[in-house]
């Protein structure tokens, strides 16, 4: 029954409702089976045709739940208890057949890669059309048109695994546009993209104009705020806090928003959060100018591939807070992995870690000096409890048991993991996992920490907590090297920043000097 729960409405009443808004949600409460508290609590809202609405909530505050309700995934794919009324156009997405929902609502995910079902761009765009049983004869023109809409008309025959992150997300959008749903729900579409790709993505959305009704869930408010004509704010308990034009929402709910760990637009966040406001951070303790990492003219290539690094050079002083930035594929991760001895020695050039040539250091020596934090904390977990995780490298180095005990206790309290001591690392929250992964990398007293995109896709609260603890470590003398796309972090925390471009070091200097170099910022896709 396509009319779903509102089947009791008369046709006239229904039509009246239709005129009132394309998306109508009334007293919606959603609770997941394993949870005591609802993800959405008594939410009522209306979105008119052609509106672009920005949906904000703290982590776990029900944004994605609302996205999944509107696109019919809850309760049809993901089971949850749903109460209240939902209507998108003529259908109730919670009960309508999937084909009808997909024709009304297109849902875009954070990570386009894992959403692809086929191997090439044209097949992927065709995939949705095939499911809607569009006649094959119509497909080529719809594929061409949707590629033009996302500004990538020449990518039709490309393999999906050859696309950059920004291209992949635009193709994922093209897949939805081809199915021509009037409503687009975008769930943190730019969380994994560099600043330039983010800007390009939003300008494509702006280009769609009022032809689509868009519900946008986003962290990077600066980039997308001018798109939205309304902001909807949910609180931690999934209750509707505000639904109004952006300026008013930010003005009236400033405290709530900052408290909830949502990124505020720069010009509204206040001076303490603004990178250009000239915050003077406590300088690290004065230290004799000694090198932590010296990289000289390093050239590196994977077998049968063009070089990733070409004569890259980098000097990192002990005690500095250093950021490494650059576009996808510029060699940042390769350079970091080389420093950690994870890749074969470079064809040319030299790497010294705390004075010693890399080849002369064993893995044990190296990991005692430098800790390496991966993007996904789960990848680094090797035991079954938080305590064992912290004790692991100590035991591997045959520390005496009493010292291990003391060290673990110290780490647990320093990284606020005391209550999680006997929990399995995989069951921790995102923020706890991140803290644990940093703690394990400092266990044996490492003097330097390399972090590869540690804040990707995290909300403001988790990111700030991590950055503050890095900053505290830095003040204690730990050298920090962070790889990131986030210029706000670079501006707020790093003393020096290096730009890698096509495998070469294109810039080394203080962040504010880099930010003034418009040409470089653009060619390195940082702005």
């Amino acid at each position: 029954m396509p009319w779903g729960r509102s089947g009791s409405l008369t046709r006239n009443e229904a039509r009246l409702k239709l005129d009132h808004g394309l998306i109508q949600v009334e007293h919606l409460t959603v609770r997941y089976p394993k949870s005591e508290v609802p993800a959405l609590a008594d939410v009522s809202l209306t979105i008119e045709r052609g509106e672009t609405v920005l949906l904000l909530s703290p982590s776990g505050g029900g944004k994605s739940t609302l996205a999944h309700i509107l696109s019919g995934l809850i309760p049809q794919d993901i089971y949850a208890f749903v109460e209240g009324r939902v209507r998108v156009g003529e259908i109730d997405p919670t009960t309508a057949p999937p084909g009808r929902v997909a024709a009304q609502v297109g849902l875009l995910f954070q990570d386009p890669e894992s959403g692809f079902a086929t191997l090439t761009v044209e097949d992927e765009i065709a995939f949705g059309l095939e499911n809607l049983q569009v006649p094959p004869g119509e497909m080529p023109s719809r594929i061409r048109h949707s590629l033009e809409q996302v500004g990538l008309p020449d990518l039709k025959g490309r393999r999906l695994d050859s696309l950059s992150g920004g291209e992949a997300q635009r193709i994922a959008l093209a897949c939805l546009l081809a199915m021509s749903p009037p409503v687009l729900v975008l769930d943190e579409p730019t969380a994994n993209l560099d600043p330039a790709s983010t800007r390009e993505f939003f300008s494509i959305l702006a280009g769609l104009g009022r032809s689509h009704t868009i519900l946008l869930i986003e962290h990077k408010l600066d980039a997308c705020l001018q798109l939205a004509n309304r902001v909807i704010l949910l609180d931690t308990h999934g209750r509707l806090t505000a639904a109004d034009e952006p300026g008013r929402v930010f003005e009236l709910n400033r405290e709530v928003i900052l408290d909830a760990g949502i990124w505020m637009p720069d010009d509204m966040a206040g001076p303490s959060l603004n990178p250009d406001s000239g915050v003077t951070r406590e300088p690290p303790p004065a230290m004799a100018v000694l090198p932590a990492v010296q990289i000289e003219d390093v050239t590196f290539a994977f077998p049968r591939q063009p070089p990733v690094l070409r004569d890259a050079s980098l000097n990192i002083q002990r005690g500095s807070f250093f950021a490494l930035v650059g576009p996808n594929g510029s060699g940042k991760t390769t350079l970091a992995r080389l420093m950690m001895g994870l890749l074969p020695s470079p064809a040319h050039g030299e790497i010294r870690i705390f004075g010693d040539p890399l080849e002369r250091l064993t893995l044990a020596d190296l990991t005692e000096r430098v800790g390496f934090v991966f993007q996904n904390p789960e990848h680094q977990f090797v035991t079954n409890t938080v305590r064992d995780e912290l004790a692991f490298s100590l035991n591997a180095r045959h520390w005496p048991e009493t010292e291990v005990e003391g060290r673990v206790a110290e780490l647990l309290s320093r990284f606020e993991l005391v209550d999680q001591e006997s929990q399995n690392p995989f069951t921790l929250s995102q923020g706890q996992k991140r803290r644990l992964s940093v703690a394990t990398m400092l266990a044996v007293g490492q003097r330097m920490l390399i972090l590869d995109e540690p804040t990707l896709g995290q909300d403001r609260r988790t990111t700030l907590a991590l950055m503050e603890s890095l900053s505290a470590l830095n003040r204690q003398g730990v050298t920090i090297l962070i790889i990131t796309h986030d210029m706000w972090l670079v501006g707020s925390y790093a003393q020096l920043v290096a730009v890698l471009l096509h495998g070469r070091t294109a810039f080394v200097g203080p962040p504010h000097v880099l930010f003034e170099d418009n040409d470089l910022m653009h060619s390195a896709r940082l702005a």
Binding site: S71, G99, A102, F109, S114, A117, N131, F374, N376, F392
Partner: protein, 270 residues
């Protein structure tokens, strides 16, 4: 091990299901003979077809041939040592030690079996290097009437394998940085594997859940029917290929029987 090599060779243009059927016939041909000659001849035929008609690069073919010939080697040796020699009147003994007897008759049976396995591997070499995975999945659905959910399963596994490989490499690095992976001995190795398995499994499950959600959000599985962008038709050239393959198998058998090298145990008195 083998990967698809995109090109527009005549083998690439064949209907994947027809190609699969033809290769199944070759495999059957290799199964029915117990001598080394028949599977060896079929193997050479497949190899040359892949190289010349399928336009696969020569050096890559050589690199891939090594495991094809070497992997069945233990099978050859053990079959030769344990072959039942009682059906031969006067086996030619080459070597004897304790319970083991190596006779030239046994060696021939072992070689026959090993080459049969090599021949199977060469059929997959031809198929994988010359068949576009998407064409294959669509052809399974359209020509062989395989349920489309299953056909897409095949396609998604093509997507997932390289992703999992990158993921595994990252996890290995992450563990190495923590000082794991230096274990020796069978027990230590087993522990290492278990340590890698959990994060790999966790991310594989998470990835496949995401893929499933994204597919459902695009109405996959909404109806019993779908339309298709690609049309995989069966054309006259597919029939021609099938006929050529059958003719080739028959010629190999004819030559083998004529020259007396064939060992066809299923034909009484042969």
């Amino acid at each position: 091990m083998f990967t698809y090599l995109a090109s527009a060779s005549p083998l690439h243009r064949l209907n994947p299901s027809a190609k699969l059927l033809a290769l199944a016939l070759v495999a059957a041909g290799a199964t029915l003979a117990f001598d080394p000659f028949v599977p060896a001849a079929l193997l050479v035929g497949l190899w040359l077809t892949t190289w010349i008609v399928g336009k696969a690069p020569f050096f890559r073919m050589l690199r891939w041939s090594l495991p094809i010939l070497l992997l069945p080697l233990p099978l050859v040796i053990f079959t030769a040592l344990y072959a039942d020699l009682s059906r031969f009147n006067a086996p030619t003994i080459l070597w004897e030690w304790g319970p083991w007897t190596l006779a030239s008759e046994g060696l021939l049976i072992g070689l026959g079996l090993g080459l049969r396995v090599s021949c199977f591997m060469t059929t997959s070499l031809l198929f994988i290097t010359t068949t576009d995975p998407t064409d294959f999945a669509v052809s399974l659905i359209q020509n062989l009437k395989v349920p489309y959910r299953f056909g897409y399963g095949v396609l998604i596994s093509y997507r997932f394998l390289p992703l999992l490989r990158t993921e595994l490499e990252t996890i290995r690095f992450a563990h190495k940085v923590r000082g794991v992976g230096r274990h020796t001995g069978i027990l230590g190795r087993w522990q290492d594997v278990r340590r890698l398995a959990l994060p790999l499994l966790a991310s594989a499950i998470r990835n496949s859940e995401r893929t499933a959600l994204a597919m459902d959000a695009k109405a996959f599985g909404a109806g019993s029917e779908r339309t298709y962008y690609r049309q995989m038709k069966v054309r006259p050239r597919d029939g021609l290929f099938l006929v050529a393959v059958i003719a080739f198998i028959l010629v190999v058998y004819a030559v083998a029987i004529r020259s007396g090298v064939a060992d066809l145990q299923w034909i009484p008195g042969a």
